[in-house]
């Protein structure tokens, strides 16, 4: 028979006000196996903890049940106390009689009755508790950065500076991301390229950083400290070691029909191309869907003109597998597709553009060399209308319910950029609310109104009617309740931001969750904003939710700090509440291996004695380092050969029985 001690906490009046402590004590004393019952005002205090420690030693307790607040609050505290008194911490059980009893029930009699039932259940479970010892696992001192935008670059630089190796995987041919496309940044209006390009160069030259551009995550295996990631390096068709970046191939390429991704389709590019002049690495890539050589077998001009023989048409995708201790996800965002917003004829009319296209149109390195001209006819516009919240804060099926967060500020920036270069252009901004929380943000937006004379109109645009060479904008000024018609030359739409289309797919590979909008979910919205529910995987930037550059950079450094902290540990202890296989009972059907979310169960062949003979038998085998302890396999296992330590079938059934007494 076990020697169980029960400790009932008053929590001041928090518990004692609603639960009759004496009655609970009396009831606990009657439970078989309970040899010592004590109460105290604050069991979590040092005095309270000493009470427990002394009882363990003096009464030779081998199980401890504490009736107190939620285990989420102080389970760790009490386990530590038990450990210091020489008791395995997993022999401690908590009966939650505060959050789930005294705080939610008013009737003292009923609350007391329930508290007793909860204590009974905790004792029933504790009776069956066993000593559990966590194992130790090593940590691979290398981090992986998925995404090479500003978030990825910042995180990688921070980790590299701390002395750890970092690999950056970037899907496109160059690092830089959205920030590289942006002309100026708010709220200071400094040039985006001027502040980003040096960081891109730093990342490419840092001895601890290795770039995998034009690459994607193929598969992820392993667990915190020991991830094994397979990286698919897509065939660039150009040998990066031989290429000098001279650019002759891109000039000579006869196919110039493809739309430049970097210039948002406002400019054409060749089939062999460098995305933008400052690209890192400065190595071209062949777009095989556009290239004449790949399409027709003829051409091969680039190969002939390349002075260093770097063109390799027969290159194939290569797979690289690498071990990492930590992973930071920084895959960024996209703008939503505006096809369904036919009232703003974005797909029909070239002078209706998105905000990202606007960035390219005002950029000195953009298709118009920074001259702000109408895409339809190359003339300078006289009136420009900005429409905010296109698809943001939109509950309908074509939009996103959330606020895209960055549009108020960049629209003010766009308006100012126009006014600064061309004060004579009339600028109108339709908005629902202007949201500018952030250092110097509101001042920035007010400057647009007060100094630059941008016309802010609270209201939306109903429809844009192309009339002749004008865009007739039908809107409303909700403050004066007047309907407006503006004969504009250009309309700029602040399209909602969205998570990357393949976020869910990547999430599945990494075993991290996404929210209803496909943004990755942080472990806690306030207290663990850069961690995920999967240990060792962190989030940075807009892949977690809409974010501007300052916030992205802050979060990136935070994620880097978390990753560095992990890599720095060298060793980790794992959760001992993992699944175990009863090999005698296991029939080897391996259904468990199929459902395990962590691929922690594999099969192994063992030898067993059956009727005097040694026979080989296939059984399931749990990798305790991979198992996270969800317990899902225990239900898949019909025979009950799989059980979860700390939450064994017998323990839970005992709790059910005790509660139903």
């Amino acid at each position: 028979m076990q020697r169980i001690g029960v400790f009932v906490c008053w929590c001041g009046t928090n518990i004692a006000g609603t639960v009759d402590i004496d009655q609970v004590k009396q009831a606990a004393e009657k439970i078989p196996g309970v040899v010592n019952v004590q109460d105290y005002q604050y069991m979590c205090s040092e005095v309270g903890q000493n009470l427990i420690k002394n009882a363990i030693k003096e009464q030779k307790l081998d199980r401890v049940v504490i009736a107190s607040c939620s285990p989420r609050m102080h389970e760790a505290t009490f386990r530590k106390a038990a450990k210091s008194a020489g008791l395995n911490p997993y022999l401690v059980e908590i009966a939650n009689i505060r959050e789930q009893c005294s705080w939610v029930h008013k009737n003292k009699e009923e609350a007391t009755e329930k508290a007793i039932a909860l204590v009974r259940a905790a004792v029933a479970k504790a009776t069956l508790n066993t000593e559990l010892v966590p194992g130790e696992i090593g940590v691979e001192p290398r981090a992986l950065e998925i995404g090479g935008g500003i978030a990825g670059i910042q995180t990688a630089l921070d980790i590299a500076e701390a002395g750890y190796k970092v690999d950056i995987i970037e899907k496109t041919p160059s690092i830089g991301g959205k920030m590289a496309q942006i002309d100026k940044t708010f709220p200071t209006l400094d040039c985006s390229a001027c502040i980003l390009t040096p960081k891109m160069v730093d990342a490419s030259t840092h001895p601890n950083i290795n770039l995998y551009t034009y690459s994607e995550v193929e598969a992820v295996q392993g667990y915190v400290g020991n991830f094994e990631v397979t990286i698919r390096q897509k065939a660039r068709s150009v040998n990066a070691d031989k290429c000098t970046g001279c650019g002759i191939c891109t000039d000579k390429c006869p196919s110039k029909k493809a739309e430049s991704e970097f210039d948002e389709g406002l400019r054409k590019r060749g089939a062999i191309y460098i995305p933008f002049p400052q690209a890192v690495p400065n190595v071209p890539v062949i777009d095989r869907e556009e290239c004449l050589k790949f399409k027709t077998g003829k051409c091969g001009l680039c190969e002939r003109v390349c002075p260093s023989g770097a063109i390799e048409f027969n290159q194939e995708d290569t797979l690289v597998t690498q071990k990492y201790g930590a992973i930071v996800v920084a895959t960024g965002y996209d703008l939503i597709n505006l096809d369904k917003f036919g009232e703003y004829p974005y797909t029909e009319h070239p002078d209706v553009i998105t905000s990202l296209e606007f960035e390219r149109l005002t950029s000195a390195a953009g298709p118009t060399a920074g001259k702000f001209l109408r895409p339809s006819n190359g003339n300078k516009p006289k009136k420009v209308v900005f429409v905010q919240c296109v698809g943001s804060r939109d509950k309908s099926s074509r939009g996103k319910t959330y606020c895209s967060k960055i549009c108020c500020m960049y629209t003010a920036k766009h308006a100012m950029l126009i006014k600064e270069k061309y004060p004579e252009i009339e600028v109108y901004v339709f908005y629902i609310d202007v949201r500018t929380p952030g250092k110097n943000f509101d001042e920035f937006q007010r400057r647009a109104v007060e100094e630059y004379g941008v016309n802010y109109i609270k209201g939306m645009v109903g429809k844009v009617f192309p009339e002749g060479d004008k865009l007739q904008v039908h809107g409303v000024d909700a403050l004066s309740s007047e309907t407006l018609i503006i004969d504009a030359d250009m309309v700029v739409l602040a399209a909602a931001t969205k998570a990357k289309d393949d976020a869910q797919e990547l999430g599945r590979k990494l075993s991290i969750s996404t929210d209803a909008n496909n943004f990755f979910t942080e472990a806690h919205p306030k207290l663990r904003p850069v961690e995920t529910h999967s240990a060792g995987i962190y989030l940075a930037g807009a892949c977690q939710g809409p974010k501007d550059i300052p916030e992205t950079v802050a979060q990136s450094s935070a994620a880097a700090a978390k990753a560095i902290g992990l890599l720095n540990k060298g060793k980790l202890v794992n959760n001992p509440c993992v699944s175990q296989v009863d090999e005698q009972i296991c029939s080897g059907c391996l259904a468990c291996t199929k459902m395990c979310p962590y691929e922690a169960i594999s099969s192994q062949v063992i030898e067993v004695k059956e009727q005097g003979k040694i026979v080989k038998k296939t059984v399931a085998h749990v990798n305790e380092a991979l198992c996270q302890g969800c317990g899902g396999c225990t239900v898949t296992c019909r025979a009950g050969a799989l059980d979860l330590k700390g939450f064994m079938n017998r323990q839970i059934l005992a709790e059910v029985d005790a509660i139903c007494l």
Partner: protein, 136 residues
Amino acid sequence: MGRMKIIPDAKKKELQQILEISGENVKDCMQCGKCTAGCPASSSMDILPHQVIRLLQLGQLDKVANSQTIWSCASCFTCTTRCPRNIDLAKLMEAVRLTIIRSKGSSRLKADDVPGKIDPKMPQQAIVSGFRKYNK
């Protein structure tokens, strides 16, 4: 004429009835004005579509019921289709119209008036629609 101060009252029984008949939740509206901006009939409305919802949010049903607006609405569903908050304003307009014409003797269109309003080319559809919209 001085300006009256209104007392917001979103719990009024009549208002609740409007919300029930329409099945719409006016609280969802954030007053972006897109309904008004796109309304083809707004020129003959004394209260603009987004103001209709605002007044309902404030419990000022009377102002809406006494407006020309509800009779100018052609139920063209342009606002319904574009509303970023999924509010069907056409249904709210209808609900307000119904509370008026459902009370006895309050039909807006009397049978006797019809001959004066139609011409030989006018299709049945117009007359039936009109009766359904203006009469009970």
